[in-house]
């Protein structure tokens, strides 16, 4: 007697259909084998199911029982195959037909009840996208499939209840819950005391999606502003919501649904594979967990050079491919990079209040580590100096834009970009590639001449040249200007790399 039950397996962030083939044979000694490159958790299923079925007073066949998880050459990992296997066994021993167009997913406890596991969101999404009618899930996991429409969720609370459902042949579906609404109140930027230059840089970065580097002594609010920055970002769009949750669900990273853009802050001791992903069976790294969100690298110069180098390609491409013998895994990695660093080993080079204890050689070596191809891909560089303690108590000076205007400008700039890139593959000014710069950011003759002058005066490299144009497009958008003016360019020029001016 052979029955095939549909389930899934996860390969990186991708989901694959799996046929759980359950075969009960009269011949041979009573055994229970699970094959198909199953991991340990799955092979433990055998004991789980045996006890669970007995406790549920469902007959466990004393025959040769073989379960094959096909395709047989993909690694199967997870404890959720319990339900499909159990469904297959019940179908054979109770002579009940399993409904077509259905996926089964769930872990079984020894007492026969079902437990929720990670991976619900991805499974339900997969089912919807591949034309399934319904998914059988543990009843405790309903919240995890938020926001996916047009698919029936059949709640299963225990194996005995499953048997009843299959006998009845009618299933009462539940629809996944709708996404809750969140208020989009703008964050309070006055939490960050002083630092008008930094606030402006955060505004430009948030509006146009430009990577940002902050350089300054310890304690100047670099870490705090990175956290504040996360709140400045636009809410996740529908597609982005699905993308992000698919990642976290498939890779077993979160049992909860992600509603806000991810904010990842890996410590500088993170390994290369921890950062970009890897392993024998690849798991996503920080860059993938930061997809559609922010990757904040604090103490940038403390990261190993090779670790930072590995960021270059994914930062450029928006994804990272990892080849293994059996499969090539592609992990998405479209993130905004925010980095913070001290200017020298002791942290106080250029400080007006502390003496720098480093020799010039040490400072040079430290800053040289910051430079390079990674920095090239960061559009905004700002120095973040110490704030006078008096400014911490005073009212904000008139030169700081009020919080409302600050926020409104960002929203306006986003709307303009949304319209501008309607038919393009990029979504904001920061991700325009050099080939398309002049079609999206045309410059008047006057502006062009001005830029050439700046290029000469400040020795701008070709990359910096394009960065300035992209930044000035965002600055123009923030100021509600259709064209890029000289003023926008001349402000943009100030955000170039100014590490050590010798």
């Amino acid at each position: 007697m052979l029955v095939k039950v549909k389930s899934v397996c996860f390969l990186g962030v991708d989901v694959h259909e799996v046929d759980v083939e359950v075969h009960v044979s009269a011949r041979g000694l009573p055994t229970f084998e699970i094959i198909g490159l199953a991991d340990r958790a799955i092979s433990e299923s055998k004991l789980r199911l045996r006890s669970a079925l007995q406790v549920s007073a469902i007959h466990f066949p004393q025959k040769k029982l073989v379960v094959n998880l096909a395709p047989a050459d993909l690694h199967k990992i997870g404890s959720f195959y319990d339900l499909p296997i159990a469904a297959g066994i019940i179908s054979i021993t109770q002579d009940l037909e399993l409904p077509g167009d259905s996926l089964f997913f769930g872990e079984v406890s020894l007492d026969g009840s079902l437990r929720s596991t990670n991976g619900i969101f991805s499974t339900v999404l997969f089912a919807k996208e591949h034309g399934y009618k319904r998914v059988f899930l543990p009843s405790t996991s309903l919240e995890d499939s938020v926001g996916i429409s047009d698919i029936d969720i059949i709640e299963v609370s225990s194996l005995s209840q499953l048997t009843v459902l299959l006998k009845q042949k009618t299933f009462v579906p539940r629809r996944p819950a709708n996404k809750p609404l969140f208020d989009t109140r703008p964050p309070d930027i006055s939490e960050l005391k002083g630092q008008p230059l930094l606030k402006r840089a955060l505004q430009i970065s948030a509006a146009g999606g430009h990577n940002l580097l902050m350089v300054g002594p310890p304690g100047t609010g670099k870490t705090m502003s990175a956290r504040l920055f996360a709140d400045l970002l636009a809410p996740l769009s529908e597609e982005e919501f699905v993308e992000v949750n698919k990642i976290y669900s498939s890779c077993g990273r979160s049992a909860d649904i992600i509603y806000k853009r991810p904010f990842r802050m890996p410590h500088h001791t993170t390994t290369l594979s921890g950062l970009i992903g890897g392993g024998n069976i690849p798991v996503p790294g920080e860059i993938t967990l930061a997809h559609r969100g922010v990757l904040f690298l604090d103490e940038l110069s403390e990261f190993k050079t090779e670790t930072l180098e590995s960021l270059r390609q994914p930062l450029e491409d928006g994804y990272i491919k990892m080849s293994r013998a059996r499969w090539t895994y592609t992990f998405p990695s479209k993130f905004l990079l925010i980095a913070a660093s001290n200017p020298c080993p002791c942290g106080y080079y250029g400080s007006s209040s502390h003496v720098c204890k480093c020799s010039m050689h040490m400072v040079h070596a430290y800053q040289r580590k910051l430079s390079g191809p990674l920095l090239d891909r960061i559009d905004l560089h700002v120095n973040v100096p110490e704030v006078e303690t008096s400014a911490l108590d005073n009212l904000p000076s008139p030169s700081i834009t009020s919080s409302d205007i600050y926020w409104d400008q960002i929203l306006f700039a986003r709307a303009v970009q949304h319209a501008r890139f309607k038919d393009a593959s990029f979504m904001n000014n920061g991700s325009i590639d050099p080939r398309h710069i002049f079609s999206y950011c045309p410059l008047s003759k006057e502006a062009s001449l001005f830029l050439k002058k700046c290029s000469k005066q400040f020795s701008l490299s070709a990359r910096s040249y394009y960065k300035v144009i992209k930044l000035s497009r965002t600055i123009a958008d923030l100021s509600h200007c259709k064209d890029i003016h000289v003023d926008h360019l001349s402000e943009a020029v100030q955000y170039r790399t100014k590490l050590l001016s010798v």
Binding site: R200, C454, Q457, E491, Q494
Partner: protein
């Protein structure tokens, strides 16, 4: 490294009449000096040593520019340590103003510290200057060599000018030696809030004399020349009142954008924009994150 045209190293014994006389007066003077270049008889007659920090600020640059206006046309030999910063700028200005210059190295006379300074070395040698050292051969620099070199820089001249020095600057060692050898030590006052000037304040409060132009130093040497009054034409402030406000708020110790914004009440986007334009026009210079009026 220059593979061809290697200059010949010559020895200068203390017994030689060309050996700098003042140097012989210091305790444990170097018995032998090794040098590159053409040594003429009166090179060491009137020597002024100029020392200062390696991390030279635009202020120090302007100071040296100003002082050399008074040194031009004299027959004073400028002695310095060939290190980056004040030393090298002093050598450069000496060459530019037609003055002889002597570089005293803290390493073997044939050692080349880095390719960038080769040009300066060659310029010094081709303009009747000297590159000398207590150490023959190509010994790389070691810690003790700096102190020993500093005593030569102090002892070879009748006056020492310290342009800019932080609390732990090597120039203070030179100044100390000069004081011990009863030389005249001059120091240019700096900004009391700037850590880069702490050394200056130290020596000014003990043995150094404050000086704000080269004239007083030149007076120590019996030189006769015409001092042409050079009136620096002040650049007219731009017609733009915002620019004028920015320029008048920039202090000599430099200001960051944040401070400037608070002081002038000009918002960051406008301020950044104006600063770029002022830099293009040459009215403002940017260094280490701070802005200075030129």
């Amino acid at each position: 490294m220059h593979l061809f045209d290697s200059p010949i190293v010559r020895e200068l014994l203390y017994s030689d009449p060309l050996y700098p006389q003042l140097l012989k007066g210091i305790p444990s003077f170097p018995k032998t000096l090794y040098y590159l270049g053409k040594l003429r008889g009166n090179l060491f007659n009137k020597c002024l040593s100029i020392v200062g920090s390696r991390d030279m600020s635009p202020y120090a640059t302007r100071v040296l520019d100003l002082f050399f206006e008074d040194l031009t046309g004299t027959d004073i030999t400028i002695v310095s340590g060939f290190m980056c910063g004040v030393d090298q700028y002093a050598h450069t200005l000496a060459l530019r103003n037609g003055l002889s210059t002597v570089a005293v190295l803290p390493y073997g006379v044939e050692h080349v510290a880095d390719a960038a300074t080769c040009g300066l070395r060659d310029s010094i040698l081709s303009s009747n200057g000297l590159v000398l050292s207590e150490y023959a051969g190509a010994d790389p620099p070691r810690k003790w060599m700096f102190h020993k070199r500093n005593r030569i820089v102090a002892g070879i001249s009748s006056c020492v000018l310290v342009v800019e020095a932080g609390a732990n600057s090597g120039s203070l060692i030179t100044a100390d030696y000069a004081y011990k050898f009863s030389r005249k030590v001059y120091a240019v006052p700096g900004n009391i809030f700037d850590p880069g000037s702490k050394g200056i304040t130290q020596i000014l409060s003990s043995f150094a004399k404050a000086v704000d132009c080269g004239w007083e130093i030149v007076n120590n040497y019996s030189v006769t020349r015409d001092r042409s009054d050079t009136i620096k034409t002040t650049l007219a402030h731009s017609a733009d009142p915002v620019n004028a406000r920015i320029l008048s708020s920039l202090t000599i110790s430099g200001m960051r954008v944040d401070e400037l914004s608070a002081l002038t009440s000009i918002e960051i986007p406008v301020l950044n924009s104006k600063l770029t334009q002022l830099q293009l026009q040459g009215f403002v210079k940017e260094w280490r994150g701070k802005f200075y009026a030129c």
